[in-house]
């Protein structure tokens, strides 16, 4: 059945699947957001423990989603994987470093015999939550601003700058995208903590967390506006039917207008995030994360769709337009995409048990007595 689908349909389907994984990752960055808030919202050891233990129950999901995002790109769009990871070497290596730090920090931080001290691991968590997300945002920004690579006849990548990807962080647009994601992660982090922690007897702590949700949104706004403004006004990359790439004025504005569903996703997503913040900061509701989370997923989808559909190369080359990668020239073969699509039918099952376990584990909020247990992080 799936094997009879056109290659083009499979390529689009896989971009949608990759986008869903990417968008879910953006939602799950509430873990990183919470980490970057740690020193700001937690004023004593108990509050710190509550934050870290609350996030500690979910860090693996974010980490695994990132790994899946990389794996899915490798499988479905191997030319992108080879070009971006091999070319933008330093940006990816640094992102990876921040995630190495994260993986050990929860488990090692409070263990007896920990030679580096709890503060070192808290710093690691902060670096992962800020620098890690900033660089990921800058990398996503290059979907629109382009990168400095060219490919030869055998699809081997060469990079035109010695900075090997770090130059992405020097672009104001990419940097703004990164900073927006950092602050959005903090918005989500505070919403999640409000949802997950039992603040009984700690009203000041609760007030700090709720307030941080609002201040994070206010910090995110200028960067969001810069990204949106830039996106709508910038010239973009256009690929025609025979694969020729050229520049087009207001390309991404054109994409949004040509794909009203995507425009709808973007607008509804942004409204949901703002509504989630409103619920968290101005009421006693603990449900803000669901609005903010869904909103982030929708915004994420809109970003990925705008970058790749409507005849747009999603990984454009600034130095050699014709080396640019679209979902059509960067993908795996028909056979592989078909095989993977059959496999992907298992995703709803995976999402199902994740949701079930999440509900089970969050049925009761995290209390102070939970974090004084010896098993706590």
């Amino acid at each position: 059945m799936i094997g009879s689908l056109d290659l083009e349909i499979l390529q689009q389907l896989w971009w949608i699947l990759v986008s869903v994984v990417g968008a879910l990752f953006l939602f799950l960055t509430f873990v990183q957001g919470g980490q970057s808030l740690l020193w700001q919202i937690a004023k004593d050891e108990t509050e710190k423990s509550l934050v870290i233990n609350s996030l500690g129950m979910k860090w693996e999901l974010t980490f695994t989603t990132l790994v899946l995002f990389g794996g899915a790109l490798f499988a479905a769009f191997p030319k992108f994987y080879a070009t971006s990871f091999g070319g933008a070497y330093w940006v990816w290596v640094l992102i990876l470093f921040t995630f190495i730090f994260q993986a050990v920090s929860y488990e090692f931080r409070k263990k007896p015999g920990n030679i580096f001290g709890a503060k070192t691991y808290e710093l690691f968590l902060f670096i992962n939550g800020s620098v890690g997300i900033l660089l990921i945002g800058a990398a996503v920004g290059t979907f629109f601003t382009g990168s400095n690579f060219y490919l030869d006849d055998f699809n081997r990548v060469s990079w035109a700058t010695p900075y090997r990807g770090l130059e992405a962080a020097f672009s104001l647009f990419n940097l703004s995208m990164g900073l927006f994601l950092v602050f959005n992660a903090r918005v989500l982090g505070s919403m999640y903590l409000v949802n997950n922690i039992d603040f009984g007897g700690m009203p000041e702590f609760e007030a700090r967390v709720r307030k941080s949700c609002l201040t994070s949104l206010l910090c995110a706004l200028p960067f969001l506006l810069y990204v949106l403004g830039g996106l709508l006004l910038m010239d973009g990359f256009q690929v025609n039917e025979i694969g020729q790439v050229s520049m087009e004025a207001n390309k991404y504005l054109g994409n949004l207008l040509a794909m009203p569903v995507v425009l709808g996703l973007l607008l509804v997503g942004l409204v949901l995030v703002v509504f989630g913040v409103y619920k968290t900061a101005f009421s006693q509701s603990t449900k803000g994360i669901w609005f903010g989370g869904l909103g982030t997923v929708l915004v994420g989808l809109a970003i990925f769709f705008t970058a790749a559909f409507n005849g747009t190369p999603f990984y454009p080359s600034k130095v050699d337009l014709q080396s640019s990668l679209s979902i059509y020239n960067a993908s795996s073969s028909h056979f592989t995409l078909t095989a993977m699509t059959y496999v992907a039918m298992g995703i709803p099952f995976v999402l199902g048990y994740i949701a079930y376990v999440w509900r089970l584990m969050n049925a009761r909020q995290l209390t102070v007595s939970d974090v004084t247990d010896k098993k706590a992080y």
């Binding site: 500690g56 693996e60 999901l61 990389g70 490798f74 191997p78 050990v104 488990e107 995976v350």
Partner: protein, 510 residues
């Protein structure tokens, strides 16, 4: 093909070896200990005895500390394919990507989701659901090994694919052939079962230490009993499976087999080396003796390789210089055909670019005749196909020798556990303490045999390692090598310190 920076290639190899070996410190322990935790918890749920719960929690804590750093080193490996081996990533992404994506979708999420329940769910979910979660973590960890080893197995024995000259990459033709290739299956079962031995030895080492110190005696005795049973079953399986691996190597990677047996000249009725000291000066094609000292069991290598005592097993020289009598083509001839394949591929691409269909068709026909030797075209001399023989040979023999020793240790521990006299056997406890470290050596040796033994190939016969790299300066890779080395070493020290402290505190400290 432009100039290849061999310095960069070597740094990239060193970095991958460094990451893989660090990762492999933690993974076998995770694979084995996850099942042991599941066994302990099953006993708790079935008997309802709190002491089993305490045992489970103790080993689970050590598992968690180890797991975190295993995950940290693992993410690097996945992305290093792209950062350091981008040409390889493009050439195999169509095949290699699928197992990795499946690993991510199923195995990793199984592990990640139930990991949280395993550590935080004791008071949040029912006893049975907690047990289920522990089993799911064990299954997920081992499933994740399946997919990465399927990918690795494909690199050792590329099957179920075809080279597409238009895209200049290998493309999958048959998913089931890739998944059920004999090399992939053998590699998966050998790796996981040997990891069960590592996990069991970890339990035996710590428990033996407790018995020596007369601390946590009951917990130690119970732990040893379970670990011995699991370890012994695994050892028996590993021995049978090791035999199967050698048989598969004989047909798919004869050079690897010759290297780990130190077999320079092919033999009929070939013997297996029980004990041997290689002649370090021996080079391909010379007349020097292969061994300074050797003890061989006649005919066994032939039996192992071909299931026949009297059969011929090719040696390194036969594979490099050819052996007409046994129909073995020389590497020089393969190189010639490989160079033709590369030239014809380029001619095909040029003709396509010029839209000359006739010339393209002709070039493609010529390319197809030699494409099985594609990788040989990138070699400089025939001797390049010989992997580092001493490293492969000694690693293999260390692994086999230690594997036999482990079987004995498990039998003795099980025997005295059943007799109820384990506590009195101080000599066995003393012998048990270093066993985990020896198991780690055996496990790392296994990887050295598998990975060093297949050099110079990234993909057997099709892509040499030096062509698989990213076009990047050596300085970049050198810098990240030292960054990884520093971070991994620091984290390893932190992990060991935490582990030791936790072991010192014992189950009461959990």
């Amino acid at each position: 093909m432009g100039e290849i920076d061999l310095v960069m290639v070597n740094w990239a190899r060193a970095q991958f070896a460094l990451t893989a070996m660090y990762h492999w410190i933690f993974v076998p322990l995770t694979l084995g200990l996850s099942f042991l935790c599941a066994f302990f918890e099953t006993l708790y749920v079935r008997t309802g005895k709190e002491e089993w719960k305490s045992i489970t929690k103790f080993w689970m804590t050590l598992f968690g500390i180890n797991f975190a750093i295993g995950v940290a080193t693992g993410i690097i490996l996945e992305f290093e394919f792209g950062t350091n081996w981008s040409n390889y990533s493009w050439m195999v992404g169509d095949i290699f990507g699928a197992p990795l994506a499946i690993e991510g979708i199923f195995a990793f999420f199984l592990e990640a989701t139930f990991f949280a329940v395993m550590f935080f769910g004791w008071d949040r979910v029912s006893k049975r659901f907690h047990l289920f979660s522990t089993w799911m973590v064990a299954v997920g960890s081992n499933l994740s090994a399946l997919w990465i080893l399927v990918a690795n197995g494909w690199m050792q024995f590329p099957t179920g694919m075809a080279f597409n000259p238009d895209t200049a990459r290998f493309e999958m033709q048959n998913f089931w052939e890739v998944l059920f290739s004999p090399v992939a299956i053998s590699k998966f079962t050998h790796t996981t079962s040997s990891s069960f031995i590592v996990g069991s030895m970890f339990v035996i080492t710590i428990s033996s230490f407790y018995l020596l110190k007369k601390r946590h005696v009951e917990m130690a005795k119970k732990s040893i009993l379970v670990a011995s049973v699991f370890g012994l079953i695994s050892t028996v399986y590993v021995a049978f499976n090791g035999d199967e691996s050698a048989y598969t190597n004989a047909s798919t990677q004869p050079m690897k087999l010759a290297a780990y047996e130190g077999l320079w000249d092919g033999e009929q009725n070939a013997g297996i080396v029980a004990l041997g000291l290689l002649n370090r000066d021996k080079q391909p094609g010379d007349d020097l003796e292969a061994f300074s000292f050797e003890m061989k069991i006649p005919g066994v290598l032939s039996l192992l390789a071909n299931r026949e005592f009297d059969s011929f097993v090719p040696g390194i020289n036969d594979l490099v210089y050819g052996n007409e009598e046994h129909g073995i083509m020389s590497t020089a001839e393969k190189m010639e055909r490989g160079k033709l394949a590369i030239t014809d591929l380029k001619a095909y691409k040029d003709a396509r670019k010029a839209m000359d269909d006739v010339a393209a068709e002709a070039a493609l026909g010529k390319f197809n005749a030699n494409q099985d030797f594609l990788g040989y075209g990138y070699l400089e001399k025939p001797e390049d196909v010989v992997p580092p023989v001493p490293l492969t040979f000694y690693s293999f023999h260390t692994m086999v020798f230690l594997g036999t020793l482990f079987g004995l240790i498990f039998v003795l521990n099980l025997y005295f556990s059943m007799k109820g006299t384990l506590e009195d056997k101080r000599w066995l406890q003393l012998a048990g303490v270093p066993m985990f470290f020896l198991a780690m050596i055996a496990s790392q040796s296994g990887w050295i045999v598998a990975e060093v033994g297949r050099q110079p190939w990234a993909i057997q016969d099709l892509l040499p390692v030096h062509v698989a790299t990213t076009n990047i300066s050596a300085g970049n890779v050198q810098t990240t090598f030292f960054m990884f080395l520093t971070v991994f070493t620091a984290l390893l020290i932190a992990e060991v310190t935490i582990m030791l402290k936790q072991i010192k505190k014992g189950p009461e400290g959990i």
